[in-house]
């Protein structure tokens, strides 16, 4: 039966080269493997990221010598007290939170139907096209998109031309324009997690609900919504935190309105008061931490 014996193709002989020795060392030393894997990212995370954040925190407790303009490294709570009690800061903080909330609500309302269509209705081909369409705006510069909206919203812009025959008017520059522009900018960040969340809901669950007598609305309320809530919250973390820290959009389309970011910007630049800027910058950080703490229990952080 020699004819049936499989032909053997010899494998090349193993060479005892340096790469092989290194691999053998790593294969038998899990700690060395871990160190090699994590050294660079840990360096980045600790030194570049956390240290910078801590420096910011510390700076907030220093002050500026009004005569020389130099930062004085003496501990003081003046900046914190000023930020907490000053009516300017309170107003701007509330306004910023309001804008961020409005942007988040608008984005979620827009993203839910789009994401549902992408995940559950569209054909696989349409699905890919839509994902690309959602992602494409992210390739364009933030500034270009903000200025595009400035042009759209101007008194002789496209929006005015579109709605004036129906008696409407462009909102012009101000907070509504800021909200519109920010909603546009962060929409992809809200659509994508909700889309991913809906993708993970098996179609058979929707069919099971219909099978058991659940019409469209009960199915959405009892089955779809609870299952994608973590994904929705994951999306809101993006839109909310990105809106809280923004100052460029409001500069471009916000008219005279100021947000927290603008206060930071003027204090770092024109006012040359880095400690006060740091203290203001702490406000959105505290708000975001509070928000994360609230949503932690919903499991949304597993969806980021």
């Amino acid at each position: 039966m020699t004819t049936n014996a499989p032909t053997r193709h010899p494998l090349p002989a193993r060479r005892a080269d340096f790469g092989r020795k290194g691999s053998a060392f790593l294969a038998t030393h899990p700690r060395a493997r871990l160190a090699l894997l994590l050294t660079a990212p840990l360096f980045w995370l600790v030194v570049v990221y956390i240290v910078a954040l801590v420096l910011l925190l510390i700076t907030a407790f220093w002050s500026v010598d009004s005569f020389t303009g130099q930062v004085r490294t003496e501990w003081t709570l003046d900046n914190i007290i000023k930020v907490l009690t000053g009516s300017l800061y309170q107003t701007v903080t509330l306004r910023t939170i309001g804008v961020a909330l409005a942007v988040t609500i608008i984005d979620v309302l827009l993203a839910l139907p789009i994401a549902f269509y992408m995940a559950k209705v569209a054909t696989p081909r349409m699905q890919r096209i839509l994902v690309i369409m959602v992602l494409t705006p992210l390739w364009a510069s933030y500034l270009v998109k903000a200025y595009a909206w400035r042009s759209v919203l101007s008194q002789d812009g496209i929006l005015e031309w579109l709605v004036s025959p129906f008696g409407g008017h462009t909102p012009g520059y101000g907070l509504p324009a800021t909200i519109i522009t920010l909603s546009y900018l962060w929409l992809p960040y809200v659509i994508l997690p909700i889309y991913a969340g809906l993708e993970r809901v098996p179609d058979s669950l929707l069919e099971a609900s219909a099978d058991l007598g659940g019409r469209t609305w009960p199915t959405i309320r009892h089955v779809v919504f609870p299952l994608v809530l973590p994904a929705i919250i994951a999306g809101t973390i993006f839109s909310f935190s990105l809106s809280l820290g923004d100052y460029i959009t409001v500069n471009i389309v916000g008219g005279a309105s100021q947000m927290l970011g603008n206060l930071v910007y003027t204090n770092v630049g024109a006012a040359n008061n880095l400690p006060l800027a740091s203290a203001i910058a702490l406000i959105p950080i505290v708000i975001i931490f509070g928000y994360l703490f609230l949503v932690r229990r919903t499991g949304a952080l597993d969806n980021l």
Binding site: P202, S204, L205, E207, A208, S209, A210, D211, L212, G213, G214, R215, P218, H222, V223, P226, L227
Partner: protein, 353 residues
Amino acid sequence: MTDQQPAIRLTGLTKEFGAVTAVDHVDLEIAAGEFFSMLGPSGSGKTTVLRLIAGFEQPTSGTIELFGEDVTKRAPFDRDVNTVFQDYALFPHMSVLENVAYGLRVRGIGRKERNERARRALASVRLEQMGDRKPSQLSGGQRQRVALARATVVQPKVLLLDEPLGALDLKLREQMQVELKEIQRDLGITFIFVTHDQEEALTLSDRIAVFNNGRIEQLGTPAELYERPASRFVADFVGTSNLFDDSVSQQLLGRAGLHSVRPEKMTVGSGETGDDVHNAPGTVVETIYLGSGIRIVVDLDAGTRVSVLEQNDRHRVHDDERGDRVVVTWHDADVIALATPVSVTDAAAAAST
């Protein structure tokens, strides 16, 4: 004679997905209280028929009647049929009790009553202790029973089961088969059971429809299908068959046509002779010990390979080994004449004219 209405009547049911015809003019009546199985290989259209009855798909043409009522255009939530899904489709965010109570909840039944009824349904599948758990904390067999309780708590007229035992291991599957049969007898409702496992279909069903290429190849009781398969496909798919084509039939049986003999109807070396006994010499290729039986594969001199299944009893004295010359014996009464198959090209030609 309203109670003589069939539970399900399908008339000319057709479903096309683009260029593919998944279900091809199926006519079928399923009696009330029947345990009915749709058996076929994957892609044969059996699951599509089930989904059409449930309302998850709309037929391209044809009608579906439920106890004489045309439900073809109705949404799934307006049909008195319920489904046990292949993956069970339990709601992962709800407890077991909430899952079972879901159908009552969306019908607007108060919390107290629906929980009471859901508990009773859970008790009927012996899971009354598991109500507070999440589906993820249950085993496969338990999830299967929850899915069953959830589908039956709303008292459907017909229960559809889409390969419900497919994900279970063999022991559990056999146990669940017995339970399914008991539950069906207790509830007295019609079960329509989709499976690709011919043994399961034979075990459970009152009647079976064998599907192939979107059509019903044969419809009958398990015994009818097994003893009198109408076509080569059914003979091959339901149980194992030794198929004799035209030329082999001429040599071995002395008549033309396509024939089949079941392996357990054949013996090796029994030495039997008589008018209605066929003897065919051959060479043993393989002897496979199965525990309860022994399978002997023999290359007959007539030019075909047959599989013989012998009981592992005390009367079995001979041990045939590979290469041994043996005589395979069977009775003419056990020979099944199969209809000459219509080849695919013939069918296509017939369809185009």
